[in-house]
């Protein structure tokens, strides 16, 4: 049994004293409600009636034939309400916040998907909502900024540091330390101080549970041979991985953002290149220099543009249970176009990193093997940015 909040050496609660009671309050509430019948039932109803769960497992037949190897299935988290897996965790945390008597939600967002999901839940539950987003991300994901405003949320542009996801997390932590009596911090990734990595994983684990059943149904009761997901902080990936951790035959493959390449200084491939550190409340791997200054990371994908990774991923990496591979901007953009043309599905640029790696390995796998790609989000939000990447002067 691990010490609570630890995954091997990783995890923990490295936050200012001001926040400790809020974390304990959250821990207590989560322990109380995670198995509470009424709570679980209400969340299940929200998942089905509001979020459109279970999400489909789609056999990508054309892609399978074209690549000529493993059978490829797509776990369609992109078909969830709000367009990504983020809604799973947000509905869970918002329900928890409501039980705790909180009336205000705050959240960080990178690509804007988590911000949109939080703004959506706040609208549904009649709560106040403030979303912190780095200036660079508000520019490359302008459509999501407007969506959040439309949903009644306030979007605060973060101008400090690298003006991306890391800085949005900093600002949200600062805001939470200022006002916690009525405010819950809906952390969107499987990162941060305990109990967040556990809470986020548990609410996202619905992805893996459904996948197990759906693969079994489609493939005569068998398990997949490989499960592939993109990893920024790592919430969709831990959500689909966690179900299969005990099944040693299932390869778990996380795809990190390699940006311009891991041999350049423009990437966010934390497990491929990073070192152990302590930041954002957790011990884990980080992109940093030898003095412990957090590196200014880069990815075409705002959702993967983060210099750390969730502590459970660091543990899966240390133990060798999961593999982590770098995928460049170029590979992801190619996969984005490929899936759009081959299957008529436009994937989020984040999820495109997982698609790209599947395109690499599927051809070399036996035809009766099964690969599941977690298609964590849809790509509508990325269309203008991809057009610009391809040299077209398109703005939303």
């Amino acid at each position: 049994m691990q010490k609570q909040g630890r995954f091997g050496v990783h995890g923990g609660q490295y936050v200012p004293e001001t926040l400790m009671n809020a974390l304990h309050e959250l821990e207590d509430a989560y322990e109380r409600y995670r198995n509470d019948e009424a709570f679980v039932k209400e969340l299940e109803t929200l998942f089905t009636d509001y979020a459109n769960r279970p999400s489909r497992l789609y056999y990508a037949e054309k892609m399978t034939k074209d690549l000529g190897g493993a059978k490829i299935y797509l776990k369609r988290e992109d078909l969830n309400h709000t367009g990504s897996h983020k809604i799973n965790n947000v509905l869970g945390q918002t329900l928890l916040a409501k039980r705790m008597g909180k009336t205000r939600l705050i959240a960080e967002t990178g690509a804007g998907q988590h911000g949109v999901a939080t703004a959506t839940a706040a609208a549904l539950f009649g709560m106040e909502c403030v979303v912190f987003m780095g200036k660079e991300d508000t520019e490359r994901q302008a459509l999501n900024v407007y969506r959040m405003k439309l949903l009644g949320a306030e979007v605060k542009t973060v101008l400090s540091g690298t003006m991306t996801l890391k800085d949005a997390v900093n600002e949200t932590l600062r805001e939470w330390a200022t006002r916690m009596h009525d405010t819950h911090y809906v952390l969107g990734s499987a990162v941060g101080p305990h109990p967040f990595p556990t809470i986020v994983r548990d609410f996202q684990s619905v992805i893996g549970r459904e996948t197990r059943l759906q693969v079994a149904q489609a493939e005569n009761g068998r398990l997949p041979d490989a499960v592939i997901a993109c990893v920024g902080g790592g919430s969709n990936s831990i959500g689909i991985f966690s179900e299969f951790i005990p099944d040693a035959s299932v390869r778990l493959i996380g795809c990190e953002a390699a940006g311009h390449g891991v041999d350049t200084d423009k990437h966010a491939a934390t497990l491929t290149t990073g070192t152990k550190g302590i930041f954002h409340g957790m011990k884990s791997y980080f992109c940093q220099d030898k003095y412990g200054q957090i590196a200014p990371v880069y990815s075409i994908s705002a959702g993967l543009d983060y210099p750390g990774v969730g502590p459970q991923h660091s543990y899966l990496f240390d133990s060798g249970r999961a593999e982590y591979v770098p995928v460049t901007d170029d590979q992801a953009v190619k996969a984005f176009g490929y899936l759009s043309r081959t299957e008529g599905i436009i994937p989020a640029i984040e999820s495109s990193h997982a698609v790209a790696h599947a395109m690499e390995i599927a051809p070399g796998m036996p035809k009766d093997s099964v690969v599941v790609i977690c298609l964590s989000g849809r790509g509508d939000k990325d269309v203008a940015a991809i057009a610009r990447y391809m040299g077209e002067d398109l703005y939303e």
């Binding site: 923990g12 490295y14 200012p16 004293e17 001001t18 400090s160 070192t275 302590i278 930041f279 200054q293």
Partner: protein, 257 residues
């Protein structure tokens, strides 16, 4: 008597904070001598970090200035060795955990002790995570100063029981930065600490004016002033030593007046 105890001996301690390397190591050195001359009883030195989550915008900007000028932890230790030859004023480092952990906690702690720094304040190391540094602190004779926040409540008891040096009482919710009003009931916090252990209590976060300093000194054993000083440094750059010294003298008078 160790240097920290001396800071609180028979007087209310004035504890100014500056960020090391802001705007340059040379100015940091001059500021330390000037602050001592102006009446500082203990000096808190911020170790620059890229992502100081407990800081407001003023000190965050100071961290960024120091780092972008090329200041590193190695520069810091060289600077502190030099300074220790010229002054015996008690000095504590304020550092986030990552610059200690990633540099190598053992090496960081050994050099901290070698350059005569008396204690560490680690804002992202709550008592639950003390094990991270405790064995090395014991080995090298460096203490860590605990923080007590307005939200600490029942936690104060165990924090105070394990405290050494002094207790850093956080005056307000949120992050560091200049405030017009200090919100926490410091008198109550201080008495909660002292009901467990007779240890000096210094108040920080937001203290800007001599009036606020006087008010805080009336209920605590020391007053920590950070953002207000760092703000003067930001405004005056290389020419900050004189205005910082003048401000420090005024604050010192208010505290001991």
């Amino acid at each position: 008597m160790n240097r920290i105890a001396r800071a609180f001996e028979g007087k209310k301690a004035f504890i100014p904070f500056i960020t090391a390397g802001d705007p340059s190591p040379e100015i940091t050195e001059k500021l330390i001598y000037a602050l001592e001359k102006a009446g500082a009883d203990l000096i808190e030195i911020g170790v620059p970090f890229s992502d100081p989550v407990a800081e407001g915008p003023v000190i965050e900007a100071a961290n960024a200035r120091a780092l972008s000028a090329g200041f590193t932890t190695d520069t810091l230790f060289e600077l502190m060795l030099r300074i220790r030859k010229n002054t015996q004023i008690p000095i504590v480092f304020l550092t986030y955990l990552n610059p200690v952990f990633t540099y190598g906690a053992e090496s960081f702690m050994r050099q901290t002790a070698e350059c005569g720094v008396d204690a560490l304040i680690v804002p992202d190391m709550p008592p639950e995570e003390n094990d991270e540094l405790a064995p090395l602190c014991a080995k090298y004779g460096v203490i860590t100063i605990p923080l007590v926040a307005p939200t600490s409540g029942k936690r104060i008891k165990s924090i105070a029981a394990g405290a050494q040096g002094f207790v850093y009482c956080v005056s307000s919710m949120g992050v560091t930065g200049m405030r017009e009003k200090l919100t926490a009931d410091i008198r109550e916090t201080v008495s909660a600490v002292k009901s467990v252990k007779e240890i000096p209590c210094a108040v920080g976060f937001g203290i800007t004016t001599p009036e606020q300093a006087r008010e805080m000194a009336a209920v605590a054993d020391g007053v920590i002033v950070g953002s207000a000083i760092v703000n003067i440094i930001a405004q005056h750059g290389e020419n900050c030593v004189k205005p910082v010294a003048e401000y420090a003298e005024a604050m010192k008078r208010a505290i001991n007046g």
